[in-house]
Amino acid sequence: MHKQSRIKAYARFLGASFSANFLAVIEYRANFLLQVFGMMLNNGAFALFWGVLLGRTGGIGGYDFTDVMIVWAITSSAFGLAHVVFGNIRNLGRIIMQGELDVYLLQPKDVFLNVLASKTIVSAWGDLAYGLVVVALLPRFDVQRLALFCVLTATGAVIFASTFAAAESLAFFLGNSQAISSALSEFLLSFSLYPETIFDKGMRWLFYTILPSGFIAFVPLAVYKSLDWRRVPVLIFVAVLYAGLSYAFFRAGLRRYESGNQMGARV
């Protein structure tokens, strides 16, 4: 009974956070549309690049144009969703460094979720929309594919958010770790956008561990193409695993924060 009301309370809280975020963003309608447009333009340029290149070469590393577009769409939407719902993931390091977690510690909600959910990134809505638009335009799109795409976007978003948050949580331990977390984030995003097979077999173990492009984009590509719902529970399990690890890492850092002895503690 108690557990159920907790879940309800958190559902209400996240819903209210999301709605507040959305309203804050819509407040500047013109800017919102501009950012969405900008992101779609950016992604579109790369789609054009792939179209031209693959039109010339007919496919590389076992990926044809449709494959590349699907990967880009899933990654784009997953990245977008992660930053729409948990817009503070990239700011977490800075928030930790500047002692701004205090406000969240004063509130009776889990600090991790609270701080991450209290912002939305405007341009990320463009990324989210882009992926949807692209898959809708690809051949053989139907309701089932739409549902599958949504699920894959959700799992990808959770994995993105977890990895970025964990990278940013290094700030608890290393002080100004902005360089490392930015690097990690860049790598993860880049590798998730390009065909897995162009990279050495030696590198690919990375994609299933600290730079989980494999779980965000590559496995979902296969799942999406073959409509293989059986592998979806695996992806959900992996997403939950990454989330759990990221959460635990953050909590460990938070204990350090509360002891006041983190690097560069503001006395």
């Binding site: 010339r56 360089a179 790598f187």
Partner: protein, 276 residues
């Protein structure tokens, strides 16, 4: 006569030199910011080297050549093309902000060319950036694609010249777009469109890869002079082609400078009428 001209030249040179040096000093003070773009550049180069490797391992690359490029050439092309983007590709933001924030009215009162001042201030640090990316690109290129083929001092000199022209062209084009802020405040979209065209036309892919109609259309735009020209000179162009590329760059550069001055005059007229 020559005495006063010399004094004038000296004064002008000092004014702009100082502006450039100040911009440079500011840039060097924030060395930490470099780490980010150096990493991004390196990452990009790496990823595209893998893409080209995969391309030439596919059926289409069986002959070892596509559109006149082999694997190493394509990778070196990309390395040089991206220097233009990373070194000279983001003037717009600072310029637009200066224009919007009303720095303009403050600067309009100063005794030198509005456009010229900004050119000096922006190019100083940009040259340092470009040099760093050039060095990084050379290192990565040698690692990933082997030492650059036909690399003679003549070619190197031509490359430097072409990059300087490309960078200057980048500046004036971006400045012209930034100045639209005098009329339309939210002008970021214009720059984004410019950026994407620059990306597609000659940066991500050599122009030879575009469909024939697109190539013809591109030739009528300044975009090939931004990345394609220096990259082509670096990897493949012989002397006649190199000369042609550079003259086209110079032509577009002059046109862009005139455009900037024209827009600036127009804006000034508007300002004095509307009161900024």
């Amino acid at each position: 006569m020559s005495h006063t001209f010399g004094a004038y030249a000296f004064a002008v040179g000092r004014k702009y030199g100082l502006a450039g040096a100040t911009g440079l000093k500011t840039r060097l003070a924030y060395l930490g910011n470099y780490a980010g773009s150096i990493l991004t550049y390196g990452l990009f180069v790496f990823v595209f080297s893998r893409i080209w490797t995969a391309v030439f391992e596919s059926k289409a690359g069986a002959t070892g050549f596509i559109a006149g490029y082999d694997r190493a050439t394509a990778i070196w092309y990309f390395i040089v093309a991206e220097i233009s983007v990373f070194g000279f590709g983001r003037f717009f933001w600072r310029l637009a902000e200066d224009v919007k924030s009303g720095q303009v009215s403050y600067l309009l009162g100063r005794p030198y060319s509005f456009v010229g001042f900004h050119f000096a201030e922006s190019m100083g640090p940009a040259l340092v950036d470009a040099l760093i990316f050039l060095a990084e690109g050379y290192l990565l290129g040698t690692l990933l694609a082997g030492p650059p083929a036909h690399f003679e001092p003549g070619r190197a000199a031509a490359l430097i010249l072409s990059l300087l022209l490309a960078g200057s062209l980048q500046f004036f084009l971006q400045f012209a777009i930034a100045m639209t802020a005098f009329w339309i405040e939210e002008n970021a979209a214009f720059f984004w469109i410019f950026q994407k065209f620059a990306l597609i036309v000659g940066t991500l892919l050599p122009i030879e890869f575009l469909p024939a109609r697109a190539q013809a259309a591109a030739a009528c735009t300044p975009f090939p002079s931004l990345s394609y020209a220096p990259a082509r000179i670096a990897v493949a162009a012989g002397i006649p082609e190199g000369l042609r590329l550079v003259s086209v760059q110079i032509a577009w550069l002059l046109g862009a400078i005139l455009l900037c001055e024209a827009v600036y005059r127009l804006a000034r007229k508007n300002l004095s009428v509307n009161g900024g």
